[in-house]
Subunit: 152 residues, 2 copies
DNA sequence: CACTCTATGTCAGAGTACTGACATGAGTCA
DNA sequence: TGACTCATGTCAGTACTCTGACATAGAGTG
């Protein structure tokens, strides 16, 4: 079914499957984070800050895969709510290093439990070998997409 | 680095890597589709219709991983621009089967070429064995995320 | 020093996708 | 037949993310 030469067969397209998997993951995460009043980007930002305190707005944006404008708005909200702190003025350049407050850390802890349950569920039924295989393949895809631009 | 027991280590999280890969794919697709004035969802809709003519609004929404409200708005735009056609009234129930117009098909053809180049680039450096492995693993992740709700 | 380039933080506006809500049609069951 | 459930199409409002634009700070170069 579906003429082969014409379009991209969605049934056998790895890109389509990747989108489907990502969509399912996002939906599952939103589901468990919603009761905590937290979005995926929201959570990503806090988790990044827990592991690498002092990250700047732009660095957080890259880590959460959004633009720095989007992250800027989110940080303003988080700061207003008392989850993170930023110095009023930059010590060097324009970079404002961000840090979690105790309140932000508590908020993150609950979210981490929720997200970990999703991650565990996703990994269920996969062997260790398959997991490392998935890692290698995803990294390969990312690498090929990133710098395959200029070489055509 | 980064206390192990506390959070989810983003460096070794398959979920994070999946998000990164999906983000890279989306960015690459947007880049090649933008010159054609087409978004990823836009393209997904046309490709779905090419392979399965007569799909309803809700079916298209599920296939493109958006809500049916979002797809409805998109279909209204596509219909206004003459890329798709829908009957004014449903022959059975409320379902309005959608079909590509010749114009929509021409538009899709150009997009397909662009998207195929991205997909090819993504698959570059992967063996056939790795490709089928990636398929199996992604399907496993999707399956686990979908119906792992109630059993937990 | 002056010039250029790059990166950053930020504001404003536009676009996209979502949730909520309503009416309608089909199927099931008593 | 009537009540109930489910899926669909659609409208309206909201939330999130993006692009565009600007000013500023540091590095490199003449």
């Amino acid at each position: 079914m579906s003429q082969d030469g014409a379009g991209i067969n969605l049934e056998t397209s790895l890109g389509y499957l990747l989108k489907e998997a990502s969509s399912a993951l996002r939906a599952a995460m939103e589901e468990v984070l919603r009761p905590l009043g937290m979005s995926v980007t929201h959570y990503s930002c806090l988790e990044l800050l827990a592991q690498r305190p002092g990250l700047s707005n732009s660095e957080l944006a890259r880590g959460a895969f959004v633009t720095r404008q989007t992250m800027n708005v989110l940080l303003q909200t988080l700061e207003r709510e008392g989850h993170v702190t930023r110095p009023a003025e930059a010590r060097v350049g324009k970079v404002l290093p961000t840090r979690l407050t105790p309140r932000g850390r508590r908020s993150l802890e609950k979210a981490t439990v929720a997200v970990r349950s999703v991650e565990d569920r996703m990994l269920a039924g996969m062997t260790e070998t398959e997991r490392s295989g998935a890692f290698r393949i995803l990294r390969s895809m990312i690498h090929s997409l990133r710098d395959g631009n200029d070489s055509a």
